[in-house]
C-alpha cells in the first residue's frame, strides 16, 4: 500500500509537476487557444453594439467572462501567472543540475552506460601506441575541448563541443520571465493615452480607455501644436502627416520639433507619437441661398463644432466636420474603381421648425464628370444621420456661379407668366429669361449645359423643404493633431528579455552539445579501442559527423601501425 504523503511531500511533488515538460506543452497550447478568442471577438467596442450583436443572454455571458476586454481579465492574467510559476519551477529544478554538468564533464564512462550509446564503434588493434592514437584523435577534432583520465588501467579521452548548450535553455526560459516581468512593469507603472491638440492651442491631459470607461491623466508638461500638415503623393494618397510641436514645461518653452508617423518625440521619459488628425475648429463661411424666390444670397460665418441660427426662420446649422479633400470612388458598381477628389466639403446638421432634422455633406465645388462636363453643385443628404444612409442630391445649378442663380429665378418668373398650354412654353420662358439676364443676342458658354441644369433645378430646388440652402462658401482650415503619449518603464526590460530569447534560441538550436569519447582498453593481445558519441540535438548531421570521424580515425590508426 502506498504510504500516505505528508503535506510537504505533496507540495514538493506538485512543484515538480508544475515544472514538467508536459505541463509546459499544455500551457503553451492553452495560452494559444485562449488568445484566439480576443482576435475573433472585436475588443473594446461600444457596449451597445455588443448587446445588439449577441442578444441579452450571450452579451451577459460574454461580459461576465470579460471577453470584451479579454487580455486584461483575471483569468487570462492567471494563465500568464501560471506560466511564470511553471517556468520558475523548471528553472529552479534544472539550472543547478545543468550548471554542474557543464562544469564537471566527467571523462570516465561506466561500462554499463556505454551500451546505451547510440553512436558506438570498436577497433581491435595490435602494436599501436595509445599516446599516438590519442594524438590523432585530438588532431582530428580541432576546436573541441578535451579531458583525459585513466581509471582502472583504461584510458578515457573525452572531447566536447558546444558544451555551453544548456545556457541556451537557461537564457530562453528566463527570457520569457524577463519579458513578462517587463510587460507587468509597463502596465503597472506606465501609461498610454491620446491627446487632441488643435493648431495654435496647447493641451496637457491624455485620455485612455479603462475597461469600458475613459480615464484621464495629466502630463507634467504641456504640448502646443504650432501647425499640422499633410503631404501628398503625386497619386493623391497621403504621404506624410507632420505636426510641429512645442513642449512647454512650467510655462517655459523647452523644445520645438516636428514629428511624423514612425518618428516620435521624446521628452521626460514620455514618447509623443503622431497618431491621427482631424478638424480643429476650422472657420466656415456658408453661402445661404434663400429659397423664397427673392434671389437673395447671404453669408453665415461659423466654425466646425459650433452652431449658427437664423433668427427669422428658426433654421439652425450645427457644423460637425470639415474636410478639404474628399476622395470618393466614382465608379458605378461593377466598374473598375476610380477614385477622385471632390474637393472641400462641410458636414452639418440642419434643423428648423416643422423640418425633419437631416445630416448634410455639402461640397464647395460643382461636380465635373470624367468627360469634363459640369453637373452642377451637389450634396449628400442623410435622413437618419447615419453615414451609410447618405444619398447624393444633385442640385442642378452650379451655385458657385451667381449668374446661374439669377438665370434660374428669371426662368421661374417667366414660367409663371407664359401660357402653360403652348407647346414650347419652357423654351419661350427660357429664351426670355436669357435675354433678361444676359441681354439680347448674348449667350453664355456651354449654353446647352446651362439650359439643362436650369431645367433640372426647377424640379430639384423646388422640392427641397428648407427655407435656405446652406452651401460651403469659404473656409479657413485648422487641424487638430491626434497625438499618442506613452511612457513604459518596462520597455527596456522587454528588449533585454527579447535579446536573451533570440540569443538563447540560437545557442539552444544551433550549438548542440556533442560529446565524443576515445576509450582505450588494454587487453591481452593489443588494444580494444572504442569511439563513442552523444549529442542532444540534430542527429542527422551528427550521424554523418560520427561516421566520417570513424573513417578518418580508422585511416589514421592504420597508418600508425
Amino acid at each position: 500500500m502506498p504510504r500516505m504523503q505528508t503535506f510537504p511531500d505533496l507540495l514538493k511533488s506538485l512543484w515538480q509537476r508544475i515544472g514538467s515538460m508536459s505541463l509546459a506543452i499544455i500551457l503553451l497550447v492553452v495560452l494559444a487557444i485562449a488568445s484566439v478568442i480576443g482576435t475573433v471577438l472585436l475588443q473594446n467596442q461600444n457596449q451597445a453594439d455588443y448587446l445588439q450583436q449577441f442578444g441579452p443572454l450571450w452579451y451577459w455571458v460574454f461580459r461576465s467572462l470579460g471577453l470584451f476586454d479579454m487580455y486584461q481579465t483575471w483569468w487570462f492574467m492567471s494563465i500568464l501567472g501560471f506560466l511564470m510559476v511553471s517556468l520558475t519551477s523548471c528553472l529552479w529544478r534544472n539550472v543547478p543540475k545543468m550548471l554542474k554538468d557543464m562544469r564537471t564533464r566527467k571523462a570516465a564512462v561506466a561500462e554499463k552506460s556505454l551500451k546505451h550509446f547510440k553512436y558506438l564503434h570498436d577497433w581491435q588493434m595490435q602494436d599501436v601506441d595509445a599516446d599516438q592514437l590519442q594524438q590523432s584523435f585530438r588532431q582530428r577534432l580541432q576546436g573541441w575541448e578535451f579531458r583525459q583520465v585513466e581509471q582502472d588501467g583504461v584510458q578515457y579521452l573525452r572531447a566536447d563541443k558546444g558544451r555551453w548548450n544548456k545556457w541556451g535553455y537557461i537564457l530562453v526560459h528566463s527570457a520569457i520571465l524577463v519579458v513578462l516581468v517587463g510587460g507587468w512593469i509597463g502596465s503597472e507603472y506606465g501609461f498610454r493615452g491620446n491627446m487632441a491638440v488643435p493648431e495654435g492651442s496647447s493641451e496637457h491631459e491624455i485620455s485612455f480607455l479603462q475597461g469600458t470607461e475613459t480615464g484621464h491623466l495629466s502630463m507634467p508638461f504641456e504640448v502646443r501644436c504650432n501647425s499640422f500638415s499633410i503631404d501628398f503623393f503625386p497619386t493623391g494618397a497621403p504621404k506624410e502627416f507632420l505636426s510641429n510641436l512645442t513642449i512647454i514645461d512650467h510655462g517655459k518653452e523647452v523644445l520645438t520639433s516636428d514629428i511624423i508617423v514612425n518618428e516620435p518625440l521624446y521628452y521626460k521619459g514620455v514618447r509623443i507619437y503622431q497618431s491621427s488628425f482631424g478638424d480643429g475648429g476650422s472657420d466656415i463661411t456658408f453661402k445661404m441661398f434663400h429659397m423664397d424666390g427673392s434671389e437673395t444670397i447671404t453669408t453665415a460665418k461659423t466654425k466646425v463644432y459650433q452652431s449658427w441660427k437664423d433668427e427669422k426662420t428658426g433654421l439652425s446649422i450645427k457644423v460637425t466636420d470639415f474636410k478639404p479633400y474628399n476622395v470618393e470612388n466614382m465608379a458605378n458598381p461593377g466598374e473598375v474603381i476610380d477614385f477622385q477628389d471632390l474637393g472641400p466639403a462641410v458636414v452639418y446638421e440642419l434643423r428648423g421648425p416643422d423640418l425633419k432634422p437631416v445630416k448634410i455633406k455639402a461640397f464647395m465645388n460643382p461636380f465635373i464628370d470624367p468627360k469634363g462636363k459640369n453637373q452642377g453643385s451637389f450634396m449628400m443628404v442623410s435622413l437618419t444621420g447615419d453615414k451609410a444612409d447618405y444619398k447624393p442630391v444633385s442640385l442642378g445649378l452650379d451655385l458657385t456661379n451667381p449668374v446661374e442663380w439669377k438665370l434660374f429665378h428669371a426662368f421661374m418668373r417667366q414660367l409663371a407668366i407664359v401660357d402653360k398650354a403652348s407647346k414650347d412654353a419652357n423654351l419661350t420662358a427660357f429664351k426670355t429669361a436669357m435675354k433678361e439676364v444676359f441681354g439680347a443676342g448674348k449667350r453664355p458658354e456651354r449654353m446647352q449645359d446651362v439650359a439643362m441644369r436650369t431645367l433640372q433645378a426647377v424640379n430639384m430646388l423646388s422640392a427641397l423643404p428648407w427655407p435656405m440652402l446652406p452651401m460651403l462658401g469659404d473656409f479657413e482650415q485648422h487641424y487638430y493633431t491626434g497625438l499618442q503619449l506613452a511612457m513604459d518603464p518596462g520597455m527596456n526590460v522587454v528588449w533585454f528579455g527579447s535579446a536573451m530569447l533570440v540569443i538563447g534560441l540560437c545557442i539552444m538550436l544551433y550549438m548542440p552539445h556533442r560529446k565524443l569519447w576515445l576509450i582505450i582498453h588494454p587487453e591481452s593481445k593489443g588494444l580494444h579501442i572504442t569511439l563513442a558519441g552523444m549529442t542532444n540535438r540534430n542527429h542527422l548531421i551528427f550521424d554523418q559527423v560520427f561516421n566520417d570521424m570513424f573513417t578518418q580515425l580508422d585511416q589514421d590508426f592504420r597508418q600508425n601501425t
Partner: protein, 413 residues
Amino acid sequence: MTATIAEPELSTLLYQGRWAWLRFNAYIGAMLGIAGMAMFGVGAYEENAFLYQILSMKGVMWGGTGALAGCGLAVVASTMKPVLLDAKMARNITPWLDGFVLMVILAAIWALFEPAQSQITYEDQSNLFAGRIIMAMNVIFIFSAVSYIAYLFAPESFIGRLATWTAYTGVFLGGSALLLRWHESYLFDMEIGHAPVSNLYEVFILLFCITAAVYLALEKRYEAKAMGAFVLSLVSAGVFFGIWLDSVGQSDIKPLVPALQSYWMKIHVPMNFVGYGSFAVACGAGMAYLVRHRLEAAGGTSKMLAIFPSLDQLDQLAYKAVAIGFPAFTLATILGAAWAAEAWGGYWSWDPKETWALIVWLIYGAYLHARVSHGWHGKALAWWAVAGFLITVFCFLGVNMYLSGLHSYGRLS
C-alpha cells in the same frame, strides 16, 4: 599523411576554408556598413530613395568600408584561431549571400529591358519587365513541382536534377524580379519608391522564394528529394493564388501609407517570411512523413519507398526546418514589436495580427517541447507540423481577410 589528396574542386575551394570565411565576413561587414549608413550617414535614412542611397557612391563607401573591415577582422581572427577558417556558420551561410549577390546582378541585367521612361505610367503598369519575370517564375515553379512529383513515380536521376534546377531557377527569377520591382517603383516618381515588401502580392513572391530556398538548402545537405514534391506543391498552390491576385489588380505598385514608411519594415517583413517559409518546409516534411508511413503500413512494397528518406530522417528534417523558422519568427515578432513601439507607442497591443503571430509562436514552441519530451512520436509530430502550418497560413492570410486590426495593409481592397 600521404599525398593522395585530390585536387580541391572549385566548389570546395569556394565554399570551404578561407575563401568562404573571408567572403562571409565581407558580406556581414557590408551589411553592417549599409545599416550604419542608414543610421548615422549624412542625410541618414530616406524612405523614398533608400535603394539609390545604397547604390550611390555614399552607399558604396559605407558598404565597401564595412566589407574591408570585415575582411580585415576575419584575417586577424583566423590567424589567432585557425579553426575559424572551418566555421560552420560561414560555410552554411555564404552560399546564400552569394546567391543574393547573383540576384542583384540578374536584376541589374533585367533593368536593361525596361520600357523607355516615356512609356511608363502609374495607371497602367502592365508593361513593366518584372511582371514578365514573375510570370516566368510562376511557370517554372509549377514545372518544378510537376517534375518533383514525376520523380516520385519515375525516380530517374535526370528528372530529379531537372526538378532541382528548375526550383533554383524559380528562386533566382523571383528574387531578382522583386529587386527589379524595387527599382521600378522609383520609375514612376522618386517619391513613390519603396522596398517590395509592402503588399500581399509582393510578399507572396518573397514567400515562394524563401520556401523553395530553405527546401533546397535541406535537399542539398540531406538528399531528401522526395520531400520536394510536397514543398513545391505548396509553393505551386501559392503561385496560383498569386496569379489570382494579379488578375484582380492587386499586383500594382502603390505608394506606401505613412505607417509603413520605416526601415523596420524592411527587416521585419522578410524575417517573418523566413519563419513562414521554414514552417512551410516543415509541413512538407510532415506530409512526406505521413505518406511514407502510409506506404509502409500498406506493406512497404511500393517502389517509391526507395527514394523516400527514412521516417527518422523525415522527422529530423521537419525539426530542422522548424529550428530554422522558430528563431527567425521569434526575431521577426520582436522586430515587429520594436516597430510598433516606434510607430504606435506600444510594443504590444493585442492586435489580431500580433496575437496570431503569438499563437503561431506558441504552437511551434509547444512542438519543440513535444519533440524533446517522451511519449510523442513521429506521426503525431508530423501531424503537428502540418497543423502548425495551417495555423501559420491563417496568421498570414486569414487575419488579413477576416479580422480587422492595425495590419490593414495586407487587406484585399
